[in-house]
Symmetry: C2
Subunit: 337 residues, 2 copies
DNA sequence: CTGAAAGCGCTTACAG
DNA sequence: CTGAAAGCGCTTACAG
């Protein structure tokens, strides 16, 4: 079963009785063409179902009007939201977006492979949102294609980043807990290597609590998406602790489940906070106390920064930190006495 | 600030002291090349950070080894999971995946535009998971590129589809409710136009309940993601009703919130079921009674069907319905008396 | 085993 | 306003 080839510009030219140069100009709406020709060419193109070959076009024009996006794992809602926001903004500005992603984590090799496949497509610019890709990995390519990191601060030479202001975020939600009156608080901390952003917000929480004379119990988490059972046990072992701060809503959900099976009432016996504040876990049904990341704005700004860079030839601003908001819920209350 | 161009095969050839044909063969590992040449070329390519231009390659070889995916909206977790599953499977089989998506719904025009942009890239095959693209929209292109619809059954001529067996799914969860002893059940129904799959499962629920001599109250929902307040009011108005079946976990979450603010205990006064059973809403904390869609398998199978088609030149199987599983939870119980 | 040549489908100066 | 020509960066027969 042989498949008919797609019609080319030559087919359109023949049918319309003009040269392929004329077809190109007519379809692009650039250069001088008579209105007559434009109309005739458009009609033929339409009738044949002509779709320009983006490869041929990109090869000669050296511009693809396409942005490449590398995402850590789209089963994590953060990345799905980011992707959607970027796609929308890019469309508004006349760019396509192609994304590559992993599952249960891209491995470092997968991520590098993904990056290369996007570079192979000669996208006009790259947005990277994956901890698997270090600043070092990116620097190798940044003299070739503009690269914006979305979702974490990146300090590598020449790379631009757009991210939630985690310093501010961690501080704000910690303040919220301190103001409720908690004086002994457990903070679940993810390592910098696992997730730079989750580590940053956790560190900010700890610093802020201490600055408010709150006694902090730091509990390190091996993985940003692993089990939290032993961390909860550790927290509960200290009866003075009246609040437990999590680095993400997902971690919070797991913590709450551990508390539920132990029949520990939240917030009566212990207050719990999350971080993210969007998507399914932000539904009013759950009433989680959290910190809402400005994810829509992160995606939009990353695209804006990238397009500015692409079009102006130089990065506009190295790092943009966007603030979020505390979302009070029903999982926090003043401490029991 | 002018940007250095990416090195081309010519640059590699010059440095390695061979022709560009030799470089091409060495890098592709095809045709006859001496081991010496291969080694030298590889070393130079590596040193220069050479990344082949996928456009030039695709233009001449007429194959891109790339699959295009159109997704309705990646803020909906179904699509994020699907995307991840497809990406993984494609990678296993040596294909790249490029995705385009919408936000808060692709409009019909956006979706058609997305489809065209993927066709412009001359992807080897297309997977479509968006209700915005009708069978009719797809049929126009299917003689040009293989197209698989993922997530809904599609009957248009020449199109292949892979989807959850909604007939079976709706029937199974309805049986579960009927066996608990419910005799008056409300079913929230989404229109076929809004979501073919949600409509199919709802219709199956209704049919099965009736076949079990359960009295069914059908409540139509305007949108698959809109508010459910008035639907809940309608259901509660009939005091005989002891169970309420939702077409998705997302709808269920909204229903439960309406019940919570009205202080109606679930499942004591009314049992509630969802549908989807994956991602955040499947966390044990919530204990939702639901039906788990085989989403990983849908994604994987869609990719397999597509690649078979691409490589063999003809579709293998028109429609594949994959069964899921009932997930009992804490939102259902035998009816109150 | 190697290189020269043709050509994939476009766009873009350049003449007319 | 229009067309012929060159060329983007590759792969692929085809000679040698």
């Amino acid at each position: 079963m042989s498949r008919p080839k797609s019609p080319t510009i030559i087919d359109v030219a023949r049918e319309a009785g003009v040269s392929k140069s004329a077809v190109s100009r007519a379809l692009l709406g650039q250069g001088d063409v008579s209105p007559d020709t434009v109309e005739r060419v458009r009609a033929v193109a339409d009738r044949l179902g002509y779709v320009p070959n983006a490869m041929a076009r990109g090869l000669v024009s050296q511009r693809t009007k396409t942005l490449g996006v590398v995402l850590r794992d789209t089963t994590i809602q953060f990345y799905g939201y980011l992707q959607a926001a970027m796609q929308r903004r890019a469309a508004e500005r006349g760019y396509e977006v192609v994304s590559v992603t992993g599952v249960d984590e891209l491995t470092v090799e997968d991520a590098q492979e993904a990056l290369r496949s996007l570079i192979a497509l000669r996208v006009d610019g790259l947005i990277v949102s994956s901890a698997q890709l270090s600043g070092e990995d990116l620097v190798r390519y940044v003299d070739r294609v503009p690269i914006v990191v979305a979702g974490r601060a990146e300090y590598a030479e020449g790379i631009v980043s757009v991210h939630c202001d985690e310093e501010d975020g961690g501080a704000r939600i910690a303040e919220y807990v301190a103001r409720l009156g908690h004086r002994d608080v457990a903070v679940l901390l993810v390592s910098d290597r696992e997730s730079a952003s989750q580590n940053a917000r956790g560190t900010a929480m700890i610093r802020t609590l201490r600055a408010s004379n709150v006694k902090v119990r730091v509990i390190e988490l091996d993985s940003y998406r692993g089990p939290v059972g032993s961390a909860v046990v550790t927290a509960l072992a200290d009866p003075a602790i009246t609040a437990l701060m999590c680095p993400s809503d997902v971690a919070m959900v797991k913590v709450l489940e551990e508390l539920r099976v132990r029949e520990i009432p939240v917030p009566e016996q212990i207050s719990v906070t999350g971080y993210d504040g969007f998507g399914y876990l932000a539904e009013p049904l759950f009433g989680f106390t959290s910190f809402r990341q400005p994810i829509e704005e992160i995606g939009r700004t990353a695209v804006d920064r990238l397009i500015e860079w692409v079009e102006q030839g130089a990065p506009v601003e190295a790092r943009t930190a966007i603030p979020g908001t505390v979302v009070p819920g029903r999982t926090t209350a003043p401490p029991r006495r």
